[in-house]
Amino acid sequence: MEVFLNWNFIQELILSTIRMATPILIVALAELYSERAGMVNIGLDGIMAFGALIGFLVSYSTGQPLLGVLAGAVGGIVINSVYAFCTIHLGAEQIVYGMAINIFAPAIASFLYKIKFGISSSLAQATLMQEMPIPVLSSIPVIGKLLFSHTPIIYLAYLLVPLSYVFFSKTKAGLNYKAVGEFPKAAETMGIPVVRTKYLACMICGALAGIGGAYLTTCYISTYSDGVVSGRGFIALSAVIFGRWMPGGVLLAALLFGFTDALQIRLQVLNSSTPYQLLAMIPYLCTLFVLAFFGIKKAGPAANGRPYFREER
């Protein structure tokens, strides 16, 4: 027990919780923006994989991880516009098409990686993003090190939570946006451009999910490999459900899942005698239990996942 209760362990645990929660948080916010406009996108895993690859490639060739993250966002938008067009314009089932993206995007990512680095490549390494301590705040003892000396992406992710809250609950634009997910017909009658809002939602979702993927290869591990996302898109999906489609709830859920991931890694480091596979199950098991006890279906936007045709009555 002493190993667990010393300050060093707790500090490391908190730090890696914040780090591990970030990609889940960004991607869960991506899904939140998507579902608030009635677009269920289960292709997050795929978009993340593509964002991770593009982010890695750009950061590898320019040496600028921040550029990599930006490129990841663009990559995410490109991939998600395929989803957007097919679900909004062709009326393809959102779940089915999300699944198609999940198969399609990692295939492209893996292809591009092999084109760039050859078939039998050793792992290429890129520079990781530098931490950027916030001037005054980071010199506060204890808290400064824990909360204010991270990479810029982490600040961005946590800043997005209050911003999203204000947007969805306090602004007219946000309420209009939510109306599209609740009752598109009524929204259209009130002059809200439903189709445009849905496209916008997909763009935001693609950009954020791309950033979430790029975070993995520019801030967390310095290389890309197939399967780097390892289900984080789906964990983010459950974070949205667990967080009851609210930015604050999503933050809590992401922190919880980030914590389980961090705990699992710390435990692996500490006791090498336990088979690592059993410890690595913790995040997935935890997601299952949390969903089983707290996940209630009837909380999302009313018209979530339904196709919308303007002409249809």
Partner: protein, 352 residues
């Protein structure tokens, strides 16, 4: 109208495949390859001689199982994205049985082992099913989480209790499925897969239970009003779907791989979903598409050796097929397109 429908159901995936090959050719040309030569190697690798053909059949066998698993669940309106986990758990159960019940002889051990795969897969499919109907949970997330748990569990088995020797893998199973075509690795599993496909086809389209199941998939509310046990059927379809995938894992273990090791069953679950969707959720279509995927996979290696193009070109073609097929199915169901197609076919009828 009916025949027209059927025609479109076949035309859409065929067009999607052709279009994907076209885009694939452009892609190959873009990276400096020769598409015609590449495709020649691809098909030579898949059909060139008996042993190549055998490899495509061997590769198709597990894909048929996971494809059928996805088809069966989707017919009842539930999404089983957990076929990979069920596949892996089926194989894990078989390894357990094969190494524990050493008293049994060849055939009876094989039967017990395959059955244990069915049960383990079904049990793994029961979890998302029961959580969906009692707690209203999203079955996709649950089944995906179970995939990761199953794969880690398998990793635990082959590095821990069932490890054999220095390499991280289990011992080879002793009871093996019979091989019956010359020197090829084609094994009895393919027969099981084909029979299963026919049985499922008969069950879904020619029995009243199958009808109820499909009714739930098409319209839950209407099925509820008709007095169908909607929740029970959903749970049942999840269990059967899991059992099919579990049998697939067991067959793959006894027919092809013989051992559990890293990468066993990798990607079969999602491929199964893709196959089911391209195959228009028809068991027979599933078999055809699974075979196509196997051809692509078997040919990809030959293509890589022959032309130096990476095998992931083929992964892209495979992924494009699903992108085009799903978009195509949605497109022909758009109200005005459907009207247009209906007009077209009625005009044809008038001419005749």
């Amino acid at each position: 109208m009916k025949s027209n429908n059927k025609f479109i159901k076949i035309a859409v995936p065929v067009l999607a495949v052709l279009l994907s090959f076209l885009v694939g050719a452009i892609l190959i040309a873009c990276i400096g390859g020769n598409p015609a030569q590449a495709y020649q190697y691809l098909f030579k690798g898949a059909f060139g001689n008996l042993s190549n053909f055998g490899e495509t059949v061997v590769k198709a066998t597990p894909l048929i199982f996971t494809g059928l698993a996805a088809t069966f669940a989707y017919k009842c309106g539930v999404f089983n994205l957990g076929a990979e986990g069920q596949f892996v758990m089926g194989a894990c159960a078989s390894i357990f049985v094969s190494t524990t019940f050493t008293g049994l002889n060849g055939v009876s051990l094989l039967i017990v082992s395959l059955l244990s795969g069915v049960i383990a897969g079904g049990a793994w499919g029961y979890i998302p099913g029961i959580l969906k109907i009692t707690r209203g949970l999203n079955e996709m997330i649950v089944s995906i989480m179970l995939n990761y748990i199953a794969i880690l569990f398998m990793g635990f088995l082959y590095t821990g209790p069932f490890r054999d020797g220095n390499l991280p893998q289990t011992a080879a199973v002793t009871a093996k499925l019979a091989r019956f075509v010359g020197n090829t690795r084609i094994h009895a599993g393919i027969i099981l897969a084909l029979v299963l496909a026919l049985v499922l086809y008969y069950f879904l389209f020619y029995t009243s239970k199958g009808f109820q199941l499909r009714a739930v998939g098409l319209n839950q509310t209407a099925s509820q009003f008709n007095g169908y046990p909607v929740k029970k059927l959903m749970l049942l379809s999840f269990i059967i779907s899991g059992a099919i995938a579990g049998l697939g894992g067991s067959v793959e273990l006894h027919g092809t791989q013989f051992r559990l090791m890293a990468g066993f069953g990798d990607g079969y679950g999602f491929d199964g979903v893709a196959i089911a969707l391209i195959g228009q959720l028809n068991p027979v279509g599933t078999v055809v598409v699974a075979y196509l995927f196997a051809v692509l996979r078997a040919g990809a290696t030959t293509m890589q050796v022959g032309t130096g193009l990476p095998t992931s070109v083929i992964d892209i073609i495979q992924a494009l097929v699903i992108i085009f097929a799903v978009a195509g199915s949605a497109f022909v169901n758009l109200p005005h397109i459907r009207q247009f197609l209906a007009n077209l076919s009625s005009k044809k009828a008038e001419e005749v």
